[in-house]
């Protein structure tokens, strides 16, 4: 039972990540592989504030979200006026540079050693000491992320985002400052990813740079695509599928390294097959077609 609860918590955390990325990929049509960087900012901020300064968890979480949003400006503002392909590379660069900083700024992040002893989460005075309680908190945060993204998607802002996604120049011709809109949405996406990060930090009680690499970003991209972009439940379904898959493979008794390769081969193939046959994923509404 504990095992299942733990699995569901991981699904919940990835669901928040996938939801945050869907805002960019599904609604705005912007492919970003930097999500793990914002995830990392949230995790490290929460961890450092809790461990080194004994701050209450909520402060760490909120500050992580703010810092991630600000960091996203460093990525979006200089590059969004360039073509979208350049944004992809810039996001990649941002992710790699972030990882470099994380691994090498020993005095702040302890580099590859990571941060240990992250305390339990405490919400409004209640210690989240059991897994079930943590699952409830995760579910709450996941619901929050879902609602926030949904609000944006169904508002005039969502309409503007779809305009940007389908034909940015046309949307500009209608007087919309598309760069400003994209920048603001990337901020939200980064903040939500940071939220997932701080949950992760408190759940694992230990974090190190290896959880925040480019491959992690790509995993989240795969979740969004496989679940289905621009859909209500796609991110959750994608997260569930891609978290449960390796667990399922483990039951086949394969040695771990091969299982790891096999998992990636499966979701890599899924990505290719979906793009060829069904770009809108399992339940998505956006099929990336012009």
């Amino acid at each position: 039972m504990e095992y299942i609860t733990g699995l569901l918590i991981v699904v919940g955390i990835y669901a928040i990540l996938a939801t945050s990325l869907d805002l960019l990929v599904g609604h705005a049509g912007l492919l970003s592989v930097a999500q793990a960087a914002f995830y990392g900012i949230g995790a490290y901020t929460a961890a450092l504030l809790a461990v080194s300064h004994g701050a209450p968890a909520i402060v760490g979480i909120l500050l992580g979200m703010v810092l991630a949003a600000l960091a996203s400006l460093a990525l979006s503002v200089p590059t969004l006026r360039l073509h979208d392909d350049y944004f992809f590379i810039a996001a990649f660069a941002f992710q790699v540079i972030f990882l470099g900083i994380l691994s090498n700024w020993m005095s702040l992040t302890q580099g590859p050693l990571g941060i240990t002893g992250i305390p339990e989460l405490t919400v409004a005075g209640i210690a989240i000491s059991s897994r079930v309680r943590f699952l409830c908190v995760t579910a709450m945060f996941a619901a929050f992320a879902h609602v926030a993204t949904d609000r944006i998607a169904t508002s005039p802002l969502g309409r503007a985002l779809r305009g940007i996604r389908e034909d940015e120049e046309f949307t500009q011709a209608l007087g919309k400052d598309t760069v400003r809109i994209k920048v603001s949405v990337i901020c939200v996406s980064a903040a939500l990813a940071a939220l997932a990060g701080s949950l992760y930090a408190h759940y694992m009680s230990f974090i190190d740079p290896s959880s925040f690499t480019v491959m992690e970003s790509i995993l989240v991209v795969a979740m969004v695509i496989i679940g289905g972009a621009a859909s209500r439940w796609g991110p959750l379904i994608g997260a569930a599928v891609l978290v449960m898959l390796p667990e399922g493979l483990r039951f086949l008794g394969l040695p771990t390294s091969i299982a790891a390769n096999l998992r990636q081969i499966i979701y890599g193939s899924l990505l290719v097959l979906l793009m060829l046959l069904r770009p809108n994923g399992l339940v998505g509404r956006y099929d990336f077609e012009r």
């Binding site: 049509g29 790699v96 890599g268 793009m275």
Partner: protein
């Protein structure tokens, strides 16, 4: 001092080759094919297979490795990318399909050869010859010679062959070419074959000089793309200029700051160019087609 110059030149040659490999494709089809990073890696491991398992001599392994990479790259284009192209799929779809391909190929290599670093037996890493006050190994010499040969050959091909004419015409009108599709398909297929072969060559020579890992393709992708952007898209010799420049930057930053900062410095340089001089050294001014 001389060692730094030699080291920089060797690093520059590898980077330049990768920049050319990437740029040949990008100049006729402006899409970012992440999968080429895996084709790079595949070239090196194919050569390793030939040399270690099939007991081929080093030169033969080199030829077979390059050919394998060329064929593999050509096949990915014909079987996968061409289908997406005929559907006029958006660049997001291409990015994700090529990302999926990268993941599959890289993990297949990991599965087959393991994740540890491998190197070519039969090459003595310490056998260096003195040259202009520095020490140069055989693979390094081959690298420089190969670069001269390849760039010379490509220049001749582009300037005087029929294919070269069509390639340049398509490159000048890349936007028209991608929307027209049919004739451009042949040019793109050829450029995939050439570009992949050159990528394989670069990979094998780099592996002979140092070693290889299944994930080295991602880095190569970065060098290739950055070298191309810095040199100027659509100009083969730009890749040479950009590659040498970037090679020096990489070498110096590894030497001064440690190898973990190599990627960061490359990407930092890219960001600088994207923001200050997006057309690179040799690129044309004027609007980049959206």
């Amino acid at each position: 001092m001389a060692q730094v110059v030699i080291g920089g030149i060797v690093a520059g040659c590898a980077t330049a080759l990768m920049g050319l490999a990437f740029g040949l494709i990008y100049s006729v089809d402006r899409r970012f094919y992440v999968g080429q990073g895996a084709i790079f890696t595949l070239g090196a491991y194919a050569a390793l297979l030939c040399h270690d398992r099939l007991a081929s001599s080093l030169p033969l392994a080199l030829v077979l490795g390059c050919t394998s990479a060329g064929v593999a790259g050509f096949l990915t284009d014909r079987q996968i990318y061409r289908r997406l192209r005929s559907r006029n799929a958006s660049s997001l779809v291409f990015l994700m399909a090529s990302l999926g391909l990268y993941i599959v190929i890289q993990n297949l290599i990991s599965w087959g050869f393991g994740d540890d670093t491998r190197s070519f037996s039969g090459i003595d890493p310490a056998a260096a010859r003195p040259l202009f006050g520095a020490r140069v190994t055989q693979p390094q010499l081959w690298m420089v010679l190969a670069t001269i040969a390849v760039f010379g050959g490509v220049n001749v091909l582009l300037r005087w062959s029929r294919y070269g004419m069509i390639h340049r015409a398509t490159a000048d009108n890349a936007l028209l070419a991608t929307s027209r599709g049919i004739a451009a398909d042949r040019v793109v297929a050829c450029s995939f074959a050439c570009g992949s072969t050159i990528a394989g060559l670069a990979a094998i020579l780099v592996s002979m000089d140092t070693n290889m890992t299944p994930t080295m393709g991602l880095h190569a992708l970065v060098w290739g793309y950055v070298a191309m952007v810095i040199g100027g898209v659509g100009h083969a010799n730009g890749a040479l200029l950009g590659g040498l420049f970037l090679g020096f930057v990489r070498y110096l930053s590894a030497w001064h700051f440690g190898s973990q900062w190599e990627d960061v410095s490359s990407l930092g340089l890219l960001m600088l160019f994207l923001v200050l001089r997006p057309r690179g050294f040799l690129g044309d001014s004027g609007q980049r087609a959206p």
